[in-house]
Amino acid sequence: MIDANTEPSLQIQALCCVRGDRVLFRDLSFAVQGGELLHLKGHNGSGKTTLLRALAGLLLPESGEVRWAGQNIRSLREEYSRHLLYLGHLNGIKGDLTAVENLRISSVLDGLQLSEKRAWEVLGEIGLKGHEDLPSKHLSQGQKRRVALARLLVNRARVWILDEPFTALDVDAVQLLQEVIRQHVANGGVAIITTHQEVAMIGEHTRTISLGRADV
């Protein structure tokens, strides 16, 4: 059992990930503390997504381990999930449900209760006013992404792992999202993101890690 008040910290130790017969990275070690933003860089195919999935516990690394507050996330399982929010290349929303329903379901599963009213408000904030009640398969690419991102506004997870959150978003949405991430970090959360866009990720607490060699 992890005390919710301990300083959140993610330690990566000697991580090695292999895909097919290609070693994407080996002996990767670093740590991220609360209040830090980690920006993962690297060219296409350098292994950013792979690393993020390993950090989220979705992918079993070849060797090495990921620790949350000192314990291996493999042994923590659901305990770790409680503190985590992962958003991958896929949006993770159901096309047949409306934006409101999608948001409420994912909140319940995250262990939060979200009233219908609050869900509407949040969706309004993220710029989906007028589209809250439409089956989300009818939404445009960027609107779908916004539905997925709306979770950031209600979630209380300490660690955010965001894989290219800015894709498909228009300029306003990108700005909004940046602000949200900055807030989260300022409140002592951890954020690990990748992006190819030149986004000004603000603050002194931004760290950058680059994956991949210069060749390829």
């Binding site: 999930s81 992962y86 290349h89 896929l90 949006n91 993770g92 929303i93 319940v108």
Partner: protein, 222 residues
């Protein structure tokens, strides 16, 4: 603990209701498959009565198996499954919820429809009763066992057929006891013992299948 279970079931039922055609299609597949045999075999009532329990049960089994393909694949494709694995809820609980919803949507209609098909094959009232009870016990077991196969074949291109290959051999005991119960009733032996075997299978799969399915889902998302 039951909050998320309730929400998962509610979610899947909502989606099913949005696409009501899903419910009917499983059902109509069942009806069509069962009705195909007289066309292939010929219309003699005596032969038909003889093979009726087997045919109806095989039809129910195939329909339930086909419907299973849908249970996780959409969630996998749009990323909601990966999100489910990352919630603080035990995965086997979520799996149980999904299977229950799936059975409510695809299993119950089969059970309700079966007497009608039995009448087509000239079964007695008593046999019809046993047919319904056997399906009521058997189809949830089919859904539970099938979910394991569905999770294992998730995201594989040959999904549907491979699922069939993995799952059909495991379905055989259910089929034997299910059809056996009806046949025993028809021949006047009473289907009691078959039905209790079915119940035992149901209980066993209720306990074990969600665990196996949850493990398989974790593997599939790796």
């Amino acid at each position: 603990m039951f909050e998320p279970l309730y929400w998962i079931i509610r979610r899947d039922l909502t989606i099913a209701m949005r696409r009501r055609s899903d419910i009917f299609t499983t059902l109509i597949f069942f009806v069509i498959v069962v009705s195909l045999f007289p066309l292939g075999i010929g219309p003699e009532p005596d032969t038909l009565r003889l093979i009726a329990p087997g045919i109806v049960w095989v039809g129910a089994l195939l329909a339930s198996m086909l419907a299973l393909e849908l249970i996780f694949s959409a969630d996998h494709r749009d990323g909601t499954l990966e999100q489910m694995l990352l919630t603080p809820q035990p995965v086997s609980l979520l799996v149980a919820g999904k299977v229950i919803a799936h059975w409510l949507v695809s299993g119950i209609p089969l059970v309700l429809m079966s007497p009608l098909l039995g009448v087509q094959y000239d079964l007695s009232w008593e046999a019809l009763g046993t047919l319904v009870v056997s399906l009521l016990l058997g189809t949830p077991a089919l859904s539970l066992i099938g979910a394991i196969g569905a999770a294992l074949t998730l995201g594989l291109r040959s999904g549907g057929v491979l699922l069939a290959l993995l799952v059909l051999p495991l379905y055989i005991p259910v089929l034997i006891f299910g059809a056996g119960a009806v046949e025993a009733t028809v021949s006047g032996l009473g289907g009691q013992s078959h039905l209790s075997m079915l119940a035992a299978i149901l209980v066993a799969s209720l306990v074990l299948a969600p665990l196996a399915t949850a493990a398989a889902l974790r593997v599939a998302e790796d």
